[in-house]
Symmetry: C2
Subunit: 330 residues, 2 copies
């Protein structure tokens, strides 16, 4: 087995975020499920966008945010995802490459436009997401490059990939190649409602195919349909080699067999927008892991990156992450 | 003459900004004129974009920013400008309407894409702009709606309109309608290099057709080709009814015949990005003027809005401007 070319390859929905401030009353009036990610069709997207205030467009997508974060820290990252050959597709492609990520998935020439996620950020900094999947529905196993998967230490998959019909096949194919190549498979559960939609499949994945699991408190409780965090913790422990559970202001818990770390959250002066917090945690954690850091340090790096992301608007880093990390870890 | 429907109608280039952080060395390496606005073609835009870091897309355009600011304060604003019927055109249209502005110019169905301005923000918060005019070159006198111009207290024009070939005709036509309808004509000189390109025409406009002139120190010095601010001030005084000259951290000077106000700048804790500072000053000033405020207060409102804009990234307001103004003016 040759030396891996990439630290982490991610597969996910290639999305451009449209962020706008909104009041809680706006969410209620239009029946938007606060804090969740809801899949919407093109017509609904147009309607909701028409109701939203002035926005800001920024590249997003859960796994894409994570890989961009890893690359910004100096890790070698690759991304597989589907955009359309349109203006937002150009924006997505430009930004992820500008972050230093290898992104070579062929764009759709025609078909649906590049996916967008309409994100309402309420005054409490919570984000509520409505996603029009657009070109993402065309991602299929033919887009999974065996060589890239085989050449990456870790394959990182987002649970959201179960929403577009053929992406799941891409997901399964990639996981198989990674296993056969002796690489690690990491999964993010993405969203408690997403877990609800695919619970049995996710349970099977976690038990049988995933080496590293990322979930927040709501997601892991949803996976095992339990009310308490500790109950979920006891269930997932032993089902998966490495588990990193994030708990917002309560920090994170990292479990690997008998090894358990309970890590405090980084202090954040003013939380502006929680979009991308989980994605950034995964970025920091996987960067640490592929650099050979111990699990407690991996969790701490995750927490440092999450703190950077929630202190400003948008899901991609604004600061020089290398400098932030050097300062915090010294 | 019926009661005007709009406080201000603006005509300008309809542009989506692409903002990215950059170091001074980047500007030097690629020969970008720091602090200026340079017109570039499609190929150059693609090249520079390819070299820039991850960006954020936000609606921009000088006069468009001003009108959006006026509407955010509760003024009645209309905008005339040309986008293409593409994704960035939808973004521009959505955002200006979401700010409460009436925007009904027919978009190009085909032709060049919606204009974009590639903005490099250096660590000193200065912005350097490269503009690909795209669909803006198709704005012409046929886009000037007589009724809207006649129904607006003030017609606001940006000097940048002299760059696209036929927009100047639209500019002149609109100014004529405004004069005939007994409305006021306001002009922003936009940029010292822009002044350099059209000095004679701008001098004629200021002396013979413009009632309210906005310029920063560099622009007014460029107009009269003088080295000192006071020299420029003495020249412009008397040439134009109302003149508002902005001087960055030195505040602004408002002159109307014998009336002269020298206004301090609002205090800003941390200047993040100066993009849109002049546009916001004009927004505050014109909002005050159309609300019947005295000239000193108009200048102060301009300063308050400029201070809000430069304390964050991007040229459109992030805060509730009505609340900001109510707080500062109380």
């Amino acid at each position: 087995m040759s030396d891996p070319k990439f630290d982490v390859v991610g597969i996910g929905n290639a999305i451009v975020d449209v962020l706008a401030h909104a009041e809680d009353a706006f969410l209620e009036e239009h029946g938007l499920a606060k804090g969740a990610m809801t899949i919407i069709d093109a017509e609904t997207a147009e309607n909701i966008y028409g109701l939203m205030g002035s926005g800001v467009e920024m590249s997003g997508g859960s796994a894409a945010n994570t890989i961009a974060g890893i690359a910004s820290l100096g890790g070698a990252g690759a991304f597989i995802g589907k955009v359309c050959k349109d203006q937002l597709g150009e924006v997505f492609t430009h930004d992820i490459r500008a972050a230093g990520v290898s992104f070579e998935t062929a764009p759709d020439e025609n078909g649906a436009p590049t996916a967008r996620c309409l994100i309402c950020v309420t005054p409490d900094a919570e984000r509520t997401m409505q996603t029009f999947l657009g070109a993402c529905v065309d991602l299929g196993p033919e887009d999974v490059d065996d060589q890239i998967i085989g050449a990456s230490k870790v394959l990182y998959l987002e649970g959201y990939l179960y929403d577009p019909p053929r992406a799941k096949e891409a997901f399964v194919k990639a996981a198989k190649i990674a296993e056969q190549s002796g690489r690690q498979v990491a999964l993010s559960l993405s969203d408690p409602f997403c877990v609800d939609r695919y619970r049995d499949e996710f349970c099977d994945l976690v038990e049988n195919h995933v080496n590293i699991l990322f979930a927040n408190e709501d997601e892991i409780k949803s996976l095992y349909q339990v009310d308490g965090f500790d109950e979920a913790l006891q269930q997932v422990r032993g089902n998966c080699e490495i588990v990193a559970l994030t708990r917002s202001s309560q920090g994170s818990v990292v479990v690997a067999g008998d090894e358990v770390h309970v890590l405090d959250a980084e202090k954040v002066e003013h939380v502006v927008d929680t979009t991308g917090a989980g994605d950034s945690y995964a970025a920091g954690f996987l960067y640490g892991l592929t650099q050979g850091r111990d699990l407690a340090t991996c969790g701490r790096i995750g927490g440092i990156l999450a703190a950077e992301i929630i202190s400003h608007y948008g899901a991609r880093a604004e600061s020089d992450l290398k400098a932030v990390l050097a300062e915090k870890l010294k």
